[in-house]
Symmetry: C2
Subunit: 357 residues, 2 copies
């Protein structure tokens, strides 16, 4: 796992770049590896796994072929283990911000961390899009982002001695509210308020019990309502307006705002790449899972074709055929043969396993 | 697992009949089960697993998605476990001998055990064909089959007191030669000869060592050569002609002949069903994996389409889409929705798992 320093450095030249480190992206890298194609993977999340990890890490999946049940986490762990012999290069925590075909037919791909790639082919395995935090729907409030408004936790010290408002009603919001309210060290905020639009939380019973016990002990304030406006002084945020279920609005002074409303997938720049899309999906052929742009493939939930079902097992098949499509472009003079992992000593050598087993 | 008595009984009426109990056939039954379609499976072998069990039961497979390595046996065991909630009906040890479309659009399928099915749709998951013993390439010798010429072991008593010739150079031939030559009970043959076309065996070192030690002890005769003819008296086989590597032929008297030359896949009757085939494969669409005959689907190694790779993981995808194709035929008035095994309480109920996990 490596990251390029911002800008100025030379772009990374590669045969294949994969956008998305969910099950499709990981298995795509494995299939490319079997054909001796080195690839890089970019993902918006700070870890591999995509929807499996973001949406159902601990829920069983029953239709992975040959596996009676796997949690999302187990599936991803095993895909990473399967991919390990090819030493994958994951560039995480960054979204693809640009994709342009150069005169030489290769793609220039840039990311939000200013990583740049020059790739002979790009395989989109972007699922339903990059998972991005749900934003507070209050016009103008984004001006305070990363100063007083946060969508993820950086350092706990950012909130030391501050009047902190946490917004959200799911586990992440409750857990962090409890942690800050229990904090006894120098990072302790001056006050902690948890705001949720309803008086019912969608969280684990223990998390709810802990928040209520801290509220009863006076360490935490619970409020029901939604942020509908804000009060600024100079360039600083000094309060938000909170409207309750009865339409009553009050002003709540604060120093810092931590919004944990969950993640929502966004196709982001892919949607604006000038690709003809059908219902947010990219039409592909079923021979190579290529889009209408030569060298640009799409696998998994991001693509569409007659009969398409958004199943992980279908993504796996698409990855295998896209790998052969990519190989034909990357090695135009080579006849690409299908070899079997059970019998091919060449594949055994690539996988680092003993052929004599 | 049930079997019908021969003939006369009413045919089994079913929504779906699957031909082949290899990985594709087993996962096909699972995918149909998720769509609430009951299916029956027919296979030539006496057990489930197809090529995985017949060709590489103990060899690792490294490209089953999300499973870093599985032996053929492990894959099949887990596919059977995954399928178990749908209580599959396997009709094993029989090949499909006929398939005809009736006036009502359903298929009449008959097997070599005279099992008959009336099915709304048939899914061929027949791989490279039914595994059948390789025959002795000697014209006319098949007339003695099951009387004095055997391709599989029935009862050891069949060879008691007989001059037995075993033909073959792989494990099965060596193992049985050793067992018969070591037999001390009433089933002991009068003599045991092992004939192989070369003086090198393709078998486990222990099996070779045991055969040689029995030869040295005088319990077994080893010959190098091929059966090129036979001598009959009346309706009985009395000797075979064996030609050695130098072209010398000698007559070898015998009472019984056990030919263990391995299994070879044969598409058999499927190849003569009047289906347009390309290089022994059935062309299908990639939307439903349907052949050109309405209601007849083909998945796995038996089918072909642009981009086709004979990979188990592709078969799994084909099974899923074929299941939706079959469902549209079986439930013409129902809109078939894709449900996820992770979240659907309906699927949890079908799979017999707890939705609250």
């Amino acid at each position: 796992v490596t990251d390029q320093a911002p800008c100025a450095t030379a772009p990374i030249e590669t045969d294949a770049l994969i956008v998305g480190a969910g099950p499709a992206g990981l298995f795509q890298a494995f299939q490319l590896g079997l054909l001796e194609i080195k690839s890089y993977i970019v993902d918006a999340l700070p870890y591999a796994g995509g929807q499996c990890i973001e949406l159902y890490p601990d829920k069983p999946i029953y239709d992975i072929p040959g596996v009676p049940h796997y949690t999302g986490r187990q599936l991803v762990a095993n895909l990473l283990k399967q991919l390990a012999p090819f030493e994958p290069s994951l560039h995480l925590g960054q979204v693809v911000t640009g994709l342009a075909k150069q005169d030489d037919g290769r793609f220039l791909v840039t990311t939000s961390k200013d990583t740049r790639f020059i790739a002979k082919c790009v395989i989109l395995a972007a699922g339903v899009g990059a998972f991005q935090p749900k934003l507070l729907p209050v016009e103008g409030i984004e001006q305070f982002r990363d100063q007083q408004l946060f969508y993820q936790l950086g350092s706990k010290a950012d909130f030391a001695g501050k009047h902190l408002l946490i917004v959200g009603g799911e586990d992440a919001a409750l857990d962090w509210a409890s942690r800050f309210a229990s904090e006894q060290g120098p990072d302790r905020p001056k006050s902690v308020t948890l705001l949720h639009r309803r008086d019912v939380f969608q969280a684990a019973p223990e998390a709810i019990a802990q928040v209520k016990s801290l509220r009863d002990a006076g360490a935490l304030r619970l409020m029901v309502g939604q942020v509908t406006g804000f009060v600024a002084e100079g360039s600083g945020l000094v309060a938000v307006q909170v409207t309750d279920v009865n339409g009553q609005t009050q002003s709540l002074p604060l120093d810092a705002l931590l919004v944990l409303l969950g993640l929502s997938p966004k196709l982001g720049p892919i949607a604006s790449w000038g690709l003809e899309m059908e219902r947010k999906q990219l039409p592909v052929d079923t021979e190579k899972f290529s889009t209408r742009i030569d060298g640009l493939f799409a696998v998994g939930d991001v693509n569409t074709y007659p009969g398409k079902k958004k199943l992980i097992l279908s993504a796996f098949h698409e990855c295998a055929l896209a790998a052969f499509g990519a190989a034909a472009l990357i090695f135009p003079d080579k006849k690409i043969m299908l070899q079997y992992t059970t019998t091919s000593t060449r594949l055994h050598s690539l996988l680092g396993v003993d052929s004599k087993v």
